[in-house]
Amino acid sequence: MHDTQPGARPGQERYVAPTDETPLRAIDVVDVDAVPESQWREAWKRLRKSPLFWLASVIILVLAVMVAFPTLFTSADPNQASLGKQFDPPGDGHPFGYNFQGADIWARTVYGARASVAVGVFATLVTVLLGVVTGAIAGFYGGIVDTLISRLSDIFFSIPVLLGSIVVISVINNVYPNKGFWGSVFVVVLALALFAWPQITRQMRGAVLEVKNLEFVDAATAIGASKLTNLRRHIVPNALSPVIVSATISLGVFIVAESALSFLGIGLPQTMVSWGNDLSDAQTLVRSGQHLVVMWVPATALAVTVLGFVLLGEAVREALDPKARKS
């Protein structure tokens, strides 16, 4: 490929650019003025730009206020019912009117948020805790421990969450009836988490397998960090981002699951105010096609809430996208 005829041809004469055009820079110089940016901060910067994130934040914020200060939204008592007001139309302070029992529909929806959110948040926390610990151990130690955890998670994974929860809750409810608000929430959380952890375990295990072979883990070992220190300080934090995304989305999914369970009459007891119970009460009206507002209000609240968490999950996924992070 060497040219047989040396010597410059037109357009290939010797050319040297003036030095002042591209002055030499020091090699590999550090930009001293740059602002430090951790990965989380960088993700937050991306998140801030996402309209999805803001929409989701508004929904979740409103929901949070509703849970903490229901009286800001309604002055009516959700448990006060008088049959005389059955299906009364909306009136002052009662924007959606009254239900079959003569209770304020809006007040019941506002107060019902508490049960839904409690189940969603706690079920997510327990699931993540279980999943992260088991997944990290399985991925890090491998061998027989991995096999045991993975097969166990396979067993639980093969049982549909809703179906499994129904069985567990029924059994517990038979043994311990009358548990009060937090007792009932606890049982539902336990049942949902029991069948939902394998998904997080799998994700965590995969992420840990990937991270544990990176060189900074070897570097820490060579420094003298013990296995457990390494796992805690370097591996788990770097393996968390996919888990955070699924946890956010599953929060919404758990809220739906709670409503489904209550709708079936198995979740929270009928006496408690919850969206699932309200929907359950409304199902007879669906058949007759009258007074559908009784169903619409809690159903919309449920749908918007779930939408909020799913959107947040999507926004977080985009912000944490490992591909975008490397470039």
């Binding site: 357009g11 010797r14 050319y15 040297v16 570097a219 490397k326």
Partner: protein, 570 residues
């Protein structure tokens, strides 16, 4: 000479739109010409705009990239402002491309033959059975033995070199007049690189194809092309005949490149002299340390001359056999022995798969050997039982790894990364540790402002400095560099090597330097261990290996150093 140029680039400007609506100019006023059948090389560091320039020619600019001005004339016609159809017609049939990364540029779900056939069909060269036949011919031509069977295989069944050959076959499938080769061999071993470039030379010569070779390696460029175009910060800073530029570089950047390229003759001479000085000083400092160690009870080791002795080190990995119940033992490291003298550098050189990194991991006690032993200053590493003893060993021996993107925890600030070894060994108070981190950053010539920054914000070379600072935090006697400079640009690489040399002289460090690149060995090492397939092929001083290699394999490695054959006036 009335021949018209095949490709002429005039005043080309290429820009990228950033998310702040600003325009980032990647190529600024570039001029160059290529004549039919000629090979030219575009040389520059990463970010110099060399790949952008090449991609502009075939209209493959990524994302928001676009031509902002100037002309690209192919056979006299401007293609930078031509409509899409005209460019599509040129692509493949008149201008071929051999992309950079052979690992990601083949579709893993398609057989290799089918991917080449696609190129033939798309350019209307051949269809059906005729195309299938042509595919085999093309693969043969690209130097793949047993081409018929290979065409029916999937990319994962190919080695990196074989994939690159397949990509060359694809680039040349439609017999283009110009082949753009974008760092075609930077992901490959030097010996494979040489084979492939030799073959490409021969092939393009016979076919009369012009080649635009994009590379960061000046030695390689000068060896393969007769016309060089040097790019720096988006501009062409110097161009002209290769020999002339090498012997008489005029632009300060070109001068810098020529003086730092490890394979070129001037560098060869000066580095040998510089290395001698470093060694003298380092050995002296190291001897003083050794005396202290020998007299002290608390220090780890006995103060011997050979700080690391590796005896008959062997590592078997168990692989799955042909049947599910079968297992095969594979010797990744086979009976390796060598020693590292205090205050000197021993380089372990070999291609990928030679077992050199496995040796490093065993010396570092990150991987238990199957047999053989590692002695650190007279103590058998595998016999250290107590945790305290092991921690003492760790303090004396620290690694610097290859991949500057993976060797620092991305969630740790630079301060946390460098402080970690101090914290792990409970050294000093928080205040003292901070002073120490500042000292260390100063040692590796980084400003203390980087302390609060994160690895993602630093360049590869800067991260490698941080990794060196972390390795030095515990004042080790030995640093094991596993391909520590392989991922860096030539100039940054030279800078890091200089830093390592300075630190060695100052602190009396001993280095075990693992590398596939013989060219850098002269700059840093005193002794060389050449490995092939897990075995030591040759073991001697640097001078002996370079001037009088005893084994064919060593000669082959030396031969493959790009630019080694170029003689300079110096």
């Amino acid at each position: 000479m009335t021949e018209a140029p095949l490709l002429e680039i005039k005043d080309l400007r290429v820009g990228f739109r950033t998310d702040k609506k600003k325009i980032l100019t990647a190529v600024d006023g570039a001029n160059l010409s290529i004549y039919p059948g000629q090979t030219i090389a575009i040389v520059g560091e990463s970010g110099s705009g060399k790949s952008t320039l090449a991609h502009a020619v075939i209209d493959l600019l990524p994302g928001s990239g676009h031509v902002m001005g100037g002309e690209i004339l192919f056979e006299g016609h401007d293609i930078s402002h031509a409509d899409r159809k005209a460019v599509l017609a040129l692509r493949g049939s008149s201008i071929g491309l051999v992309p950079q990364d052979p690992m990601s540029n083949l579709n893993p779900l398609w057989k290799v033959g089918r991917q080449i056939k696609e190129a033939l069909v798309a350019n209307n060269v051949a269809t059906g059975d005729a195309a299938d036949k042509r595919v085999v011919e093309l693969l043969e031509e690209a130097g793949l033995p047993d081409a018929e069977r290979r065409a029916r295989q999937y990319p994962h069944e190919f080695s990196g070199g074989m994939r690159q050959r397949a990509l060359i076959a694809m680039g040349l499938a439609a017999r283009p007049k110009l082949l753009i080769a974008d760092e075609p061999t930077s992901a490959l071993d030097v010996t494979v690189q040489k084979q492939i470039l030799d073959h490409l030379d021969q092939l393009t010569d016979t076919l009369g194809v012009a080649v635009m070779l994009i590379t960061h390696d000046l030695g390689l460029a000068a060896e393969r092309a007769d016309h060089l175009v040097v790019m720096y910060r988006g501009r062409v800073v110097e161009s002209g005949p290769a020999q002339e530029i090498l012997q008489d570089p005029e632009h300060p950047y070109t001068k810098r490149l020529v003086s730092k390229a490890p394979s070129l003759a001037s560098q060869r001479l000066s580095s040998v002299r510089a290395r001698e000085e470093v060694r003298e000083q380092a050995v002296q400092t190291a001897a003083e340390i050794a005396e202290e160690v020998a007299q002290s009870e608390s220090e780890f080791g006995e103060g011997r001359d050979d700080i690391i002795v590796v005896e008959n080190l062997t590592k078997f990995f168990t692989l799955r056999g042909a049947k599910p119940w079968q297992k095969v033992d594979f010797a990744a490291v086979d009976d390796v022995s060598f020693s590292l003298r205090r205050g000197t550098t021993t380089a372990i050189v070999g291609e990928s798969g030679s077992g050199k990194s496995t040796v490093a991991r065993m010396v570092l006690d990150l991987l238990p050997p199957s047999s053989g032993r590692v002695l650190f200053d007279g103590r058998d590493v595998s016999e250290l039982r107590s945790k305290a003893e092991r921690l003492k060993l760790r303090r004396q021996m620290q690694p610097v790894f290859q991949n500057p993107y993976a060797s620092l925890d991305p969630l740790y600030s630079i301060y946390q990364s460098i402080e970690e070894p101090l914290r792990t060994h409970d050294v000093g108070t928080k205040k003292e540790r901070e002073t120490r981190v500042r000292d260390l950053l100063d040692k590796v010539s980084l400003p203390t402002t980087v302390m609060s920054r994160y690895p993602g914000e630093l360049s590869g070379g800067q991260r490698q400095r941080v990794a060196i600072a972390r390795a030095l935090a515990l004042e080790p006697e030995v640093v094991i560099c596993d391909e520590a400079v392989s991922a860096l640009d030539v100039l940054v690489q030279a800078q890091i090597l200089e830093l390592l040399n300075d630190l060695q002289a100052e602190l009396g460090l001993s280095y075990l330097f693992i590398t596939h690149d013989l060219a850098v060995v002269r700059q840093i090492a005193d002794n060389v261990v050449v490995m092939q397939d897990g075995k030591v092929v040759e073991s001697a001083t640097v001078a002996e290996v370079f001037d009088n290699p005893q084994k064919d394999y060593t000669r082959k490695l030396l031969d493959a150093i790009p630019g080694a054959s170029i003689e300079l006036g110096a």
